[in-house]
C-alpha cells in the first residue's frame, strides 16, 4: 500500500509529451481531390503536347541517311572474302555510292552501324580490363582474368588491350568522296578525333605513363589482339597522340552499346573548307570502304549513317511521338475523369454517410 502511494506521487514512467512520441507531428495531409488531380492531368497533358510538338518540329529539321553496305554492289566480293577467316589478312576495298537529294546544313556526323552485333552480352561486356586501359603498368603485363581467353595469346604473351571487346573492334575504314557536277571528286574532310566522351578520352583511357619511352617501347612485351592487323600503338598512323589506349576509335568501340543494333560515331564533317562550310551539299557521294570486319558469322549487317543533330540529339522520332501519344492519352483520361467527377463526385453522392 505504501508503495502504491509513493507511486501516486511520482509519475516517473509517464511518457514524454512530445509531438513526436505522441504522433502529433505537424504534417501536410494532401489528398486526391478533384481540385488537385484534374488540373494536374490537364496541365501535364498540355506540357506533353507542347513538348511533343516542339520535338516533332525539331526532328523534322534533322536529316539522316542510312546505307547498308554489307553485301551491296562491289562490297559483295569483300563480303564473300571475309567468310573465310584464313584470308583475314587480305585487304579488300569496295565502294558504295549514294545521293544526297538536298543540302544538309550544319554539322554532319558519319556513323558506322552494326546490326545484330551483341555488345551487351554479359561475358562479352566483362571481357575487358579497365585497369589495363587506364594504363596501369601491372595490368598491362598481367591482364585480368575477366579477359580470358583473350588475355594471353598462344605464346602466353599478354594481350593489350585484352578481352573480347577490344579483340572484336570494328576495323572498317571509310573515305567519303563528293562528286561535283563537273565530274571531279572532292574528298569530304572528316574529323576523326574528338568523337569520344571527354571523360573517356581523358580519364578512363590512359596510356601507361612513361617519361621518355615511345609507345612501341611501352607496349613491348605485349601482343596485339588476335583479330587486329596492327598493334595498339599503331592504330592511327597519322597522329602519334591518337595511339595506344587513347585511340578515339578504340574508345568509341569500347563504350559498349546497350542493344544489338547500334551505330557509333566515325567522324565529323570538317567544315573549314569549301564546299562543306555550311554542311554537305546535295549531290552524289561515294564511300570507299576498307572492308575488314566480317559480319556473316553472326548474320550481322553493317551500315553507314550520315546524320545531323539537334539540341536533343540525333534524328529520333520516338520521343516526339511518345510525347504526343502520352499527351493525347492523358487528355482523354483527364476528360473522362472530369466527366465522371461532374456526374458522380461533384454533388458528393458517394460521400454521403
Amino acid at each position: 500500500m505504501a508503495m502504491l502511494q509513493r507511486g501516486l506521487k511520482t509519475l516517473a514512467r509517464r511518457p514524454d509529451n512530445s509531438a513526436f512520441k505522441q504522433q502529433r507531428l505537424p504534417a501536410w495531409t494532401p489528398s486526391l481531390t478533384a481540385h488537385t488531380v484534374l488540373p494536374i492531368f490537364f496541365c501535364l497533358s498540355l506540357v506533353c503536347m507542347l513538348l511533343g510538338v516542339w520535338l516533332l518540329i525539331t526532328v523534322q529539321q534533322t536529316y539522316q541517311l542510312k546505307m547498308d553496305y554489307t553485301d551491296t554492289n562491289s562490297c559483295s566480293k569483300c563480303f564473300d572474302l571475309r567468310k573465310n577467316s584464313s584470308k583475314a589478312q587480305e585487304i579488300c576495298h569496295c565502294t558504295v555510292s549514294l545521293t544526297i537529294p538536298e543540302d544538309v546544313m550544319g554539322d554532319v556526323f558519319f556513323y558506322y552501324g552494326l546490326i545484330n552485333f551483341h555488345q551487351n552480352l554479359r561475358r562479352y561486356m566483362t571481357s575487358r580490363d579497365i585497369a589495363q586501359t587506364l594504363g596501369r603498368k601491372r595490368s598491362l603485363k598481367s591482364p585480368s582474368s575477366y579477359c580470358a581467353p583473350f588475355n594471353y595469346d598462344e605464346n602466353k604473351v599478354p594481350i593489350a588491350p585484352c578481352g573480347a571487346v577490344a579483340n572484336s573492334m570494328f576495323n572498317d575504314s571509310f573515305t567519303v568522296n563528293y562528286h561535283l557536277r563537273d565530274g571531279s571528286t572532292v574528298p569530304v574532310p572528316l574529323y576523326r578525333k574528338g568523337i569520344t566522351w571527354y571523360t573517356d578520352k581523358n580519364v578512363k583511357f590512359r596510356n601507361p605513363k612513361s617519361s621518355n619511352e615511345t609507345l612501341a617501347q611501352i607496349f613491348n612485351g605485349t601482343s596485339r589482339p588476335l583479330f587486329w592487323q596492327k598493334p595498339v600503338y599503331e592504330l592511327d598512323p597519322s597522329d602519334p597522340n591518337n595511339n595506344g589506349f587513347i585511340n578515339d576509335d578504340l574508345i568509341v568501340w569500347m563504350r559498349e552499346a546497350a542493344f544489338p543494333n547500334f551505330k557509333k560515331l566515325y567522324g565529323i564533317l570538317n567544315r573549314s573548307e569549301r564546299p562543306f562550310t555550311s554542311g554537305l551539299p546535295a549531290g552524289n557521294y561515294s564511300i570507299d570502304i576498307t572492308y575488314n570486319f566480317p559480319v556473316q558469322y553472326f548474320r550481322g549487317r553493317k551500315e553507314v549513317v550520315i546524320s545531323t543533330v539537334t539540341w536533343f540529339g540525333g534524328q529520333n522520332h520516338f520521343l516526339p511521338i511518345a510525347y504526343l501519344v502520352t499527351a493525347g492519352l492523358i487528355f482523354v483520361t483527364a476528360a473522362a475523369l472530369t466527366a465522371v467527377y461532374l456526374k458522380v463526385g461533384k454533388n458528393g453522392k458517394n460521400m454521403e454517410e
Binding site: R13, E256, A258, I268, R299, F312, Q315, Y323
Partner: protein
C-alpha cells in the same frame, strides 16, 4: 509497484528455456540441511539465475549461428556463394554482402542490447541480499550465493529467495502467510505451516545450525501446487507436501520472520521452471508474407527457367555464331549447359524481388509502432504510474484486425473494488441523494461526502453521500444500529491494528471488507477479535461480544451467520446472505417488510449493485444450549460431517427477522461501457469469459451495456447433460434464425450501411439483438466435438456472449474454438492468473496490469492499466499499424518488382546473358539507401485518418477485419503495377535510346548511359509513388523523400567521379557516365516521359476509385480536412447508461470461509500483542483445533490443488500454473468474487 519488483524476479520473460543439464535426469533429490559438502556432491543448481544468452566472447559465433538459421539469411548466404562462381556470377559479391552485413549487424545490435539488459537484471536479482545461516551464524549473503541445503531467514514483506521448506516461523504453530500474487496471481494470503518438529526450533540459531535433517523429494519440476518429499530427521520420517513449501517469488506477509531450508535453487525453482519460452506468435500478415515470399520464389524460378530456355534457344541460334566468330571456344560448348548457368545467373540478378531488407524493415516498423504504444500518454495510467507496454513487438498490425475480444471480468471490466453504496434498512433506502425538487441527483466525484468526523476510528477512504443515514445513526434508531452491528459482527474479517486507531482489515473477500468498513464508519467499529470474542466500538463505546458460533458460508448455503452473546447476556443470531435464501427463512410477520425490501433490492440490482439481505434472530439460552450440544457432537463426528452440520445450521436459521439489505457496487473500471460500445461499433465481438456466477456476470453484462433490456432475447444455456445443452442451443438458434431469415436478404445491405455508420448507428445497427449466456458446466458439454460447431454458430449470431463459471482451461478452449473455426483474429484480455491460458492461446494477449498480480501481464503481448485503453490500442494504434504495414508491404513489393523486372525485359535484348541493366553499386544501394528511408518514414508516421477521427468512426476498423488492405489480390495488383512500371521503365528508354545520339553527335545508346537513365527514372518514379502513398507528410517524410533523391544523385556522381575511379578502376567502371548522360536534355526528356507514363495511370485509378467507390477512409479524410478548416470541435462518444430491471445476486467468496480458523484461534496473535486478555484455551481444545486446522489446510489444498497443470490440452506448455480445474465439475473460484 509490484511489477517493478517482479522484473527482478523474472528478469527476462520467456527468453530462456529451462533445460535439464546433461548429467542425467535427476530422479530424486537428496538435500541435507546445513551440509554444503554433502549437497555439493549432487551438483544441484545454485541460486544464481542466468537468463542471458551470450557473454562477451560467445556473442559473435552464437549470434551468427542463430541468425543464419533464419531462412532469409541463409538464402542470401547461398546467393553469396553462388556469386563467387565466375561462370555464374552476374553480380559482384558486394551487391549481396553489403546488405547482408547491414542486416546482420542491425539484428546483432538488437540482440546484444536485449542481452545486455538481461545481464543487468540477472545481476540485480543475483545480488539481492538474504540472511543465510552459515557456520552457526546468520550472515548476509547475495542471493546467488545461496546453496541448496542452506537455512535462510526471511522477514516480513521479503521475497522468498529460493524454494524453501518452511522450518519455523514467528507465528504460533509454525504458521506463516504468503502472498503468491507473482506466482499464480492470487492476492489472498495463503497459509503455510511448518512441521511441528521443526517449528519447535523457533528462532534459536544454534539449534537451527545443528538441524541436520535430510529431505528426499521429487526432482525439479514446474508444478506450482505439488510437492512430494520426506524429511528424515532423528530417525523419524515426516511427509512433506506443498503446504510446507515457500516458493521463490512469493512474499512473506503478516509474519515477522521465518526460517526455511533451501530445496530448489536458482534455475531449478518452480518459478524459473515455469518461465518457459512463450510460444512465438506470428501475425496473419507474417504468414501471408511467408506465402508470398514462397510464391515470389516460385515466380523467380519461373523467370529463371524462362530466361534459361530463352538463353538456350538464343545460344543455339545466334550466340553460337557470335562466339564462334569471336573464337570463344569455352562458350561454344553446349547451349543447354549455358542455359543452366544462365538460370543461376538470373536467380542472382533477380533475387532482389525478395529483398533482404524486407524482413528487417518490417521488424523496424513493428519496433517503431511498439514504441509509439509505449509512449502514448493517453494509455498511461497516472494513478498507478503505468504506461502501456508492447511486450511483443511483432504483433502490432494484427491489432488492426481483431474481430473477437475475449474478456475476463474481474479486474478487467471491474475494478474488483467493492464499495458500500446503498442500503435498505427497515423499508427505507439510504444512499441516493435528491435535490430540492425531489429528483435524484447523479453522484459524481464532486458530490459532497458525508462527514464522518464524529468517529475517530473512521476509514478516510470511505465515501458515502447520503447524510440521512448518519442522522439516523445519531438518532440511535435501534434497527439502524442493529443493522450496522450485524455488519460489524457477522463476518470472518481479521483486524490488524498497527498503532492506535489505525485499523486494517484483512478480508477474505472484498465484499466483506466493504461491509465491515461501512459499519466502521457508521460508528460500529470492529476492532478486535479472539477465538471467542468480538470487540466492537459502538459509537465510541467498547462492547465485547461473546462469539458462540460461526455458521460459515459455503456455496450451497449462500449465507453466513454468527451467534453472539452481548454484554447484556442476550444471545443473538445475525445472518446475511442471498435474498432468495434469507427470505425463505424469515418469520412470517416480516412479510410486508419483505416486499418493500424486495422492491429496494430490485432497484439496487437494476443499478448493477450486488445485494445481500440481512436478518437477525433472538435466541433463547435453552434452545441455544441444546443446539450447541448437537453442534459439538456433530462437529466431532467423522461421517457426513458437512451435511450434518448443514442440516444443523438450517435448523437454527429459521424464523429470522429481516433487517434490510445492503447494496455493494462492484465498481466498473473507468469507461468500460463506452469502450465496449465503441468496440461493438467497430464490429468487434466481445465475449466475456468469467469465473463468476451467472447472476454476477449478467449483472456486469447489464452494467457495461453488453446486455440490455431492449434486446430481443437473452438465451441462457445451463443444461447439465449434453442432450440438454444441445436442445437449448438448437432452440436458441432456431429462435434467432426464424425471424431473421426473412431479413436475410436485406442483411447484406445492412452490413454495408453499418460500415458507414456514425453516431446514430447506436440506435439502428442490428435490428434483432440476442445475447447468449452459457454456464460453465454446459460449456463443458458444448465444447465437445459434436456440439462445438453449434455453439459457435449460435454464439456468433448473438451480439453478446457471456460464459460464466468457466475454468481457465475452458477459457482457452473457447478462444481456441473461435480461432480454429473462424478465420478471425482473436484478442484475449485479462488480469489474473486464470486468464493466462486464454491470453496465450489468443492471437493477441492483453494483460491488465492490475491488482491480481503479474501473471497475466507476463504472459501477455500488450499490457496496460485500464480496460478502456483497449479502444485506443485497437482503433488507433492497431488501425494505424495495420494501415502502415499494408501500405508498406504493397509499396515494397511494387518497388522491388519495378526495380528487378527491368532485367527480365533486358534479357530479351541481351541474348538472355544475365547482363544487368544497372550499375552494380546501384543494385547494392537501391534497397538499403535510395529507397528505404522514405518508405520507412511512411510506415512509421503515416496516418490516413487522425486519432480523433479513428475513434469517432469505429467502422474505419472494418477493412482490417476483412483483411482488405493487404491480401493476395492486393499483392497481385501491386506486383502487376510493379511489372508494368518495369516495362515502361525499360521500353521507353529503349525506344528513345534506340537511335539516340548526343547533341554533340557522339553516341549515348551505350549500356552505361542507358543504365543511368533507367536507374534515375526508377528512383524518381519510386519516390513519386511513395509520395502518393504518403498521407501524412511530416518533416521527417519530407526530409527522407527529398533526402533520398539528393543522396541518390550525390552517390551517383560520387561513384561516377574521376577520383574514385582512379583509386578503384575495376570497381567503378561507370566513370563519367552520370555527367555525360545527365547533361543531355534528351535523357531528361526520357526520364520525364517515363515518370509521367508510370505515375499517371495509378493516379487516375486512385482518383476514380475515390470518386466512384469512396471508402469510409476517403470520406473521413475529406471530413477531417473540412473540420480542420473549420477548426476542431470536440465531440464525444458518450453513451447513456441504461438501467435494467435485473436481479442482482449474492456475491461472495465461493470458497469456504475462514470461520474455522477464527473459532480455533489459530490465526490469532499471541495474547501479548493485544490489549485483551484471552481466556486461554484448554489443551484439549488446542488439539481439536489443530485437527481443524489440518482439515482446513487440507481443504485449501484441494482448492489450490485444483490448480492443475494443463498438460493435457497442449495449449502451450508454459506458465499454466494458474489454471484451475475442479475435478468434480464443481467450479471453485478463489479470486473471482
Amino acid at each position: 509497484m509490484a511489477e517493478r519488483w517482479l522484473w527482478l524476479l523474472i528478469p527476462w520473460r520467456g527468453a530462456w528455456t529451462p533445460r535439464s543439464k546433461a548429467n542425467g535426469q535427476e530422479e530424486e533429490r537428496h538435500v541435507r540441511a546445513n551440509d554444503r559438502e554433502y549437497n555439493e556432491r549432487f551438483q544441484y543448481a545454485d541460486n544464481r539465475i542466468k537468463t542471458s544468452k551470450y557473454n562477451f566472447f560467445t556473442f559473435l559465433p552464437i549470434n551468427l549461428f542463430e541468425q543464419f538459421q533464419r531462412v532469409a539469411n541463409a538464402y542470401f548466404l547461398v546467393l553469396l556463394i553462388l556469386q563467387l562462381i565466375p561462370q555464374i556470377s552476374s553480380l559482384s559479391w558486394f551487391t549481396t554482402i553489403v546488405p547482408l552485413v547491414l542486416v546482420l549487424a542491425i539484428t546483432a545490435v538488437k540482440d546484444a542490447t536485449d542481452d545486455y539488459f538481461r545481464h543487468k537484471s540477472d545481476q540485480q536479482v543475483n545480488t539481492r541480499q538474504s540472511q543465510v545461516l552459515i557456520k552457526g551464524k546468520l550472515q548476509n549473503e547475495k542471493w546467488m550465493n545461496v546453496r541448496v541445503g542452506d537455512i535462510i531467514k526471511l522477514e516480513n514483506n521479503q521475497f522468498v529467495a529460493a524454494d524453501l521448506l518452511l522450518l519455523s516461523s514467528s507465528e504460533p504453530c509454525g504458521l506463516c502467510y504468503i502472498e503468491t500474487a507473482e506466482l499464480d496471481g492470487e492476492t489472498n494470503l495463503k497459509v503455510r505451516q511448518a512441521l511441528t518438529v521443526t517449528s519447535d526450533l523457533g528462532t534459536d540459531v544454534s539449534r537451527l545450525a545443528e538441524f541436520n535433517g535430510e529431505v528426499i523429494c521429487e526432482p525439479p519440476n514446474n508444478k506450482l501446487d505439488k510437492f512430494m518429499g520426506t524429511l528424515y530427521w532423528k530417525d523419524n520420517k515426516f511427509p512433506l507436501d506443498n503446504e510446507k513449501m515457500l516458493l521463490r517469488g512469493c512474499v512473506l506477509r503478516n509474519t515477522e520472520w521465518c526460517f526455511g531450508m533451501v530445496i530448489f535453487a536458482g534455475l531449478q525453482t518452480k518459478l524459473m521452471q515455469n518461465c518457459g519460452r512463450t510460444k512465438f506468435k506470428r501475425t496473419s500478415i507474417d504468414k501471408l508474407m511467408n506465402t508470398l515470399v514462397l510464391w515470389i520464389f516460385g515466380f523467380l524460378i519461373c523467370m529463371g527457367i524462362t530466361l534459361a530456355i530463352g538463353n538456350t534457344i538464343w545460344e543455339e541460334r545466334v550466340g553460337r555464331n557470335f562466339w564462334s566468330y569471336l573464337l570463344w571456344d569455352e562458350l561454344l560448348s553446349s547451349p543447354v549447359f549455358s542455359g543452366f548457368l544462365t538460370f543461376w545467373s538470373y536467380i542472382i540478378i533477380l533475387n532482389t524481388v525478395v529483398p533482404i531488407s524486407l524482413y528487417v524493415s518490417v521488424e523496424v516498423l513493428r519496433l517503431g509502432h511498439s514504441y509509439f504504444i509505449n509512449w502514448d500518454r493517453k494509455m498511461y495510467y497516472s494513478k498507478r504510474d503505468t504506461p502501456a507496454e508492447a511486450r511483443t513487438t511483432t504483433l502490432n498490425e494484427e491489432l488492426g484486425q481483431v474481430e473477437f475480444i475475449f474478456s475476463d471480468k474481474t479486474g478487467t471490466l471491474t475494478q474488483n473494488i467493492m464499495v458500500f453504496n446503498k442500503c435498505s434498512i427497515n423499508g427505507k433506502t439510504y444512499g441516493d441523494i435528491y435535490d430540492e425538487f425531489g429528483h435524484k441527483v447523479d453522484i459524481t466525484e464532486k458530490t459532497p461526502c458525508v462527514d464522518f468526523s464524529f468517529n475517530p476510528l473512521m476509514d478516510r477512504k470511505f465515501r458515502f453521500h447520503d447524510s440521512s443515514l448518519v442522522e439516523a445513526i445519531k438518532l440511535e434508531e435501534p434497527l439502524v444500529q442493529e443493522f450496522f452491528r450485524l455488519l460489524a459482527l457477522c463476518h470472518t474479517v481479521m483486524p490488524e491494528e498497527r498503532s492506535e486507531g489505525e485499523l486494517v482489515y484483512q478480508a477474505q473477500s472484498p465484499d466483506e471488507g466493504a461491509l465491515v468498513t461501512a459499519a466502521r464508519n457508521f460508528g460500529f467499529v470492529f476492532r478486535a477479535r479472539t477465538p471467542e470474542t468480538i470487540t466492537l466500538y459502538e459509537m465510541g463505546q467498547p462492547v465485547t461480544y461473546q462469539l458462540l458460533a460461526i455458521l460459515d458460508f459455503n456455496n450451497v448455503r449462500k449465507r453466513m451467520s454468527v451467534i453472539v452473546k452481548n454484554p447484556k447476556g442476550q444471545i443473538k443470531l445475525y445472518s446475511k446472505g442471498a435474498d432468495t435464501i434469507l427470505f425463505d427463512r424469515l418469520d412470517p410477520c416480516n412479510e410486508e417488510l419483505m416486499y418493500t425490501t424486495s422492491e429496494h433490492l430490485n432497484e439496487f440490482a437494476g443499478e448493477g449493485l450486488r445485494t445481500l439481505a440481512l436478518a437477525y434472530k433472538d435466541l433463547d439460552e435453552d434452545v441455544f444450549d441444546e443446539w450447541m450440544k448437537k453442534l459439538l457432537f456433530v462437529s466431532t463426528s467423522l461421517e457426513n460431517r458437512e451435511e450434518r452440520l448443514g442440516a444443523l445450521y438450517e435448523e437454527i436459521e429459521q424464523g429470522l427477522m429481516l433487517l434490510g439489505a445492503t447494496a455493494i457496487e462492484d465498481k466498473l473500471q473507468e469507461g468500460v461501457p463506452e469502450t465496449i460500445a465503441c468496440l461493438t461499433l467497430a464490429n468487434i465481438k466481445i465475449w466475456v469469459l468469467t469465473g463468476d456466477k451467472l447472476e454476477t456476470a449478467m449483472n456486469i453484462g447489464y452494467s457495461c451495456n453488453m446486455l440490455r433490456d431492449d434486446m430481443n432475447e437473452v438465451f441462457i444455456i445451463s443444461g447439465h447433460t449434453s442432450l440438454e445443452v444441445q436442445q437449448e442451443l438448437r432452440s436458441a438458434k432456431e429462435r434467432i434464425m426464424g425471424p431473421s431469415r426473412e431479413k436475410l436478404g436485406s442483411g447484406l445491405d445492412e452490413d454495408k450501411t453499418d460500415m458507414y455508420g456514425s453516431d446514430s448507428v447506436f440506435e439502428e445497427t442490428i435490428i434483432a439483438e440476442y445475447a447468449l449466456i452459457i454456464n460453465g458446466h454446459s460449456l463443458a458439454h458444448a465444447l465437445e466435438a459434436d456440439l462445438e460447431q453449434m455453439l459457435l454458430d449460435t454464439a456468433c449470431l448473438c451480439k453478446t456472449v457471456i460464459c460464466c463459471r468457466v475454468t481457465p482451461l475452458q477459457k482457452a478452449q473457447v478462444v481456441e474454438l473461435v480461432k480454429r473455426h473462424k478465420r478471425a483474429v482473436t484478442l484475449a484480455i485479462g488480469d489474473g492468473a486464470n486468464d493466462v491460458s486464454m491470453i496465450k492461446t489468443a492471437h493477441i494477449g492483453v494483460g491488465i496490469s492490475g491488482q491480481e498480480g503479474m501473471q497475466a501481464v507476463l504472459a501477455s503481448d500488450y499490457s496496460f492499466a485500464q480496460f478502456r485503453y483497449l479502444q485506443r490500442l485497437l482503433l488507433v494504434h492497431g488501425r494505424w499499424s495495420y494501415h502502415r504495414m499494408c501500405t508498406f508491404l504493397c509499396y515494397f513489393f511494387y518497388k522491388n518488382f519495378a526495380f528487378t523486372l527491368v532485367h527480365f525485359w533486358f534479357g530479351f535484348l541481351c541474348g538472355f546473358s544475365a547482363q544487368t541493366v544497372y550499375d552494380q553499386w546501384f543494385i547494392t544501394l537501391f534497397n538499403i539507401v535510395y529507397t528505404s528511408l522514405p518508405v520507412l518514414a511512411m510506415g512509421l508516421f503515416d496516418q490516413d485518418v487522425n486519432e480523433h477521427h479513428s475513434l469517432r468512426y469505429p467502422s474505419l476498423y472494418r477493412p482490417g477485419q476483412l483483411n482488405l488492405m493487404f491480401n493476395k489480390r492486393k499483392f497481385f495488383t501491386c506486383t502487376l503495377q510493379g511489372i508494368c512500371t518495369s516495362f515502361v521503365l525499360f521500353f521507353i528508354p529503349y525506344g528513345a535510346f534506340f537511335c539516340a545520339v548526343r547533341d554533340d553527335g557522339s553516341h549515348i545508346s551505350d549500356q552505361q548511359a542507358f543504365a543511368v537513365t533507367i536507374a534515375t527514372s526508377l528512383v524518381i518514379v519510386v519516390s513519386v509513388q511513395i509520395g502518393l502513398d504518403t498521407n501524412y507528410w511530416t518533416a521527417v517524410n519530407h526530409f527522407f523523400i527529398w533526402g533520398s533523391l539528393a543522396v541518390y544523385f550525390a552517390i551517383l556522381f560520387a561513384m561516377h567521379s574521376d577520383g574514385i575511379f582512379s583509386i578503384f578502376p575495376s570497381q567503378f567502371p561507370f566513370i563519367g557516365t552520370a555527367r555525360n548522360s545527365l547533361m543531355q536534355k534528351s535523357v531528361w526528356l526520357v526520364i520525364l516521359l517515363t515518370t509521367v507514363v508510370c505515375i499517371m495511370p495509378m493516379l487516375a485509378i486512385r482518383f476514380l476509385r475515390a470518386v466512384l467507390y469512396p471508402s469510409l477512409t476517403d470520406k473521413v479524410r475529406l471530413l477531417q480536412q473540412a473540420t480542420r478548416r473549420q477548426g476542431p470541435q470536440e465531440q464525444n462518444l458518450r453513451r447513456v447508461r441504461r438501467t435494467s430491471s435485473r436481479r442482482s445476486a449474492y456475491a461472495f467468496a465461493h470458497q469456504q470461509g475462514y470461520g474455522e480458523l477464527i473459532t480455533s484461534g489459530k490465526n490469532m496473535r499471541a495474547p501479548t500483542s493485544s490489549n485483551f486478555v484471552f481466556p486461554v484455551s484448554p489443551p484439549g481444545r488446542v488439539n481439536v483445533a489443530t485437527s481443524w486446522i489440518d482439515s482446513m489446510l487440507k481443504k485449501k489444498g484441494d482448492t489450490s490443488n485444483a490448480v492443475a497443470m494443463e498438460k493435457t490440452t497442449g495449449v502451450a506448455s508454459g506458465t499454466e500454473m494458474s489454471d484451475r480445474t475442479e475435478p468434480q465439475g464443481q467450479y471453485t473460484q478463489t479470486e473471482e468474487v
